[in-house]
Point group: C2
Chain length 414, copies 2
Amino acid sequence: MSESPAFSSRYNESLRLFERAASVIPGGIYGHHSPVSVLPLASPYYAQSAYGGYYRDVDGNQYLDLMCGYGPIVLGHVTAEVEEAAEHQRRIGNCFNHPAPVMVELAEWLTTHIDGADWTVFGKNGSDMTSWALQVAREYTSRRKLLKVRGAYHGTHPWATPGHGGLIEEDKAHVHDFVWNDLESFEAQINAHGNDLAAVMITPYHHPVFDDQQWASEGFLKQVQRRCREIGALLILDDIRAGFRLNTAGSHVTVGIEPDLMCYCKAIANGYPVSACAGVAALKPAASRVFLTGSYWNGAVGMAAALATLRVLERENIPKRLARVGTVLQEGMRSLGKKHALPVRVSGPPALPYMRFENDPAFHRQQRFCALCMEGGIFLHPHHNWFLCAAHTEDDMRHALGIMDAAMGRMENE
Amino acid sequence: MSESPAFSSRYNESLRLFERAASVIPGGIYGHHSPVSVLPLASPYYAQSAYGGYYRDVDGNQYLDLMCGYGPIVLGHVTAEVEEAAEHQRRIGNCFNHPAPVMVELAEWLTTHIDGADWTVFGKNGSDMTSWALQVAREYTSRRKLLKVRGAYHGTHPWATPGHGGLIEEDKAHVHDFVWNDLESFEAQINAHGNDLAAVMITPYHHPVFDDQQWASEGFLKQVQRRCREIGALLILDDIRAGFRLNTAGSHVTVGIEPDLMCYCKAIANGYPVSACAGVAALKPAASRVFLTGSYWNGAVGMAAALATLRVLERENIPKRLARVGTVLQEGMRSLGKKHALPVRVSGPPALPYMRFENDPAFHRQQRFCALCMEGGIFLHPHHNWFLCAAHTEDDMRHALGIMDAAMGRMENE
């Protein structure tokens, strides 16, 4: 580590913990939280505490949190109204032999508020729900094939994982890709698999890693939906990333489609482990035939937290607030790019913004920018979209822009 | 409902909630908690509150809880030491962009205490871990096949699910069954698939539904292990059901084997959603190549609860306590069978007991017995093993035996 004095001064305790972890955990930190996949030696590795829109790492460095736990924190860390609802349930029990009444209340909230949702089920992780939705589609259609967008992330189940380890040919045998906003590539897959096509899975907009976020072109989503209806395939919306940040009625309302199945996770419970799949009435019998359970899946505390989170999101119109605050950040970043003559690309909805540099294929400029921002006190990700929460203010964004301004200033002179 | 006045008096509120649920949730209640699969109209459907070894349903009926949430509640509902550890973490944050230090501490605890565990990873559900373990075995061996015991439950991922809905042929293409305690059937599968065999997955003892629990015959597990080593397949222990109730060093110590991968869930965190897979050093590189993540998988609160739970389990030697208290129940049930001249079969470890009647192929006698016990104030399951927790006392078991005595007395006269 001697080559990186900045690391040794700022992230000593992170490194010390990582060295302990590496001896008892494969890779030390795995999955999307792995520092190796983000900014090795130029990022905190462990978090100590968080409140509202900020957190501290284990070395005591404070950050404006622009990743929000990769999405779950939608109101702010340790939000009183959610914690109180969870605490009330916790005092009377969590993990019973039966569901608690809050499961029914949560299902009623979701089916009342999510456009087109006639029923819902719950899991613990996004991948649980996208995978179950695929099974429901196969059960309903008696077909095998799934079309998904190239580069879209739908979880870690073998049919979906972006990883390579431990897979066999059968895992993805009936999963095929088309290109976002490319109706020709979509139509080619329809032609190849249409009569065996169980479902098409899409996100409300495309949010790949290592690239700009992309809204659908005019007519793209509608045409995908129309073709699904024509050939009798289901349209599954993976709204795990964006759900409830754009629209409390579901992101499909924002982008103007009517999916048959809709998957949620992340923002649904402000960090408590809950995921959900909602669907239209016609699928309810098929849904009841696809076995779904888990050791803690009736856990009442997470459902109480979800209900409290969703009520705040709707009552306070948090999507509108996130759009307003995020617009300050996005417009500010565009202005900074001009000021510093850096080719800045800002993409995605304001509530889930992303910024990168053009002509930066290996992301070296981007990594330098993020490392400088972290030194300045903002945590953001070089190649994954960012997330705002309701605890963030316009002042927080101006604070972030000041740090970004200084970072770009240093980069101009390097 | 008019044919069941007992239901309408005792379970009114459960039924009212179920009717609401049925309109917004496929099947109303799904998975292993479904009342349709347990005792329709003769069991509570919803839980209101719980404390220690008891809970109340939404109609105010109180039960000695002999299912403990189907396993997770190992210390007792709402156990102070676990809740305090979780609360401390909750106040400073749960769902960060990075792991919290408690992830390292938990991994260190597990690798220190579980016999043969050199590393560990975490998930949210048992099925996450058995499925990931299978991938690790495939990655390590570059082979495809899995052998498992017929009737053993390893989760809801498509390769494992006991359900039928939404499956395709590829899901179980390389999963094959052998019969517990039948080395001939095991050897036949080894002969058929040995050179393509990635792993054999076993439980420490066989705990099927709708049947007695069965310990391994003398030499059975050792021979399975020996053959795995000979042909280069991994031995995976699914210790999700029994883990930490038999032995805080892992159930494999109790049954005398040395698995390569060991999967835990349920009792690990007294109801907080955490699962874990531990493994031997040789598999660490392969393990680090199998992508593993989830929206909440670094959640620090569950890990703090797990660490607190495991420390109590070890410090208080809870497995020994559960064995002692469970033996009172098991011996008492055998005596009751003799007293009432009913052909009672008691099976399984005392900490995870089960009782059923001989010559009761459709489980009618069993269902009647369980329904009467519920009326008397014990919740137990007609066709799934039961679970004890540390809050249960010998007096609780004598109380349960009194209720069972009365139930069998009524059954004699029916």
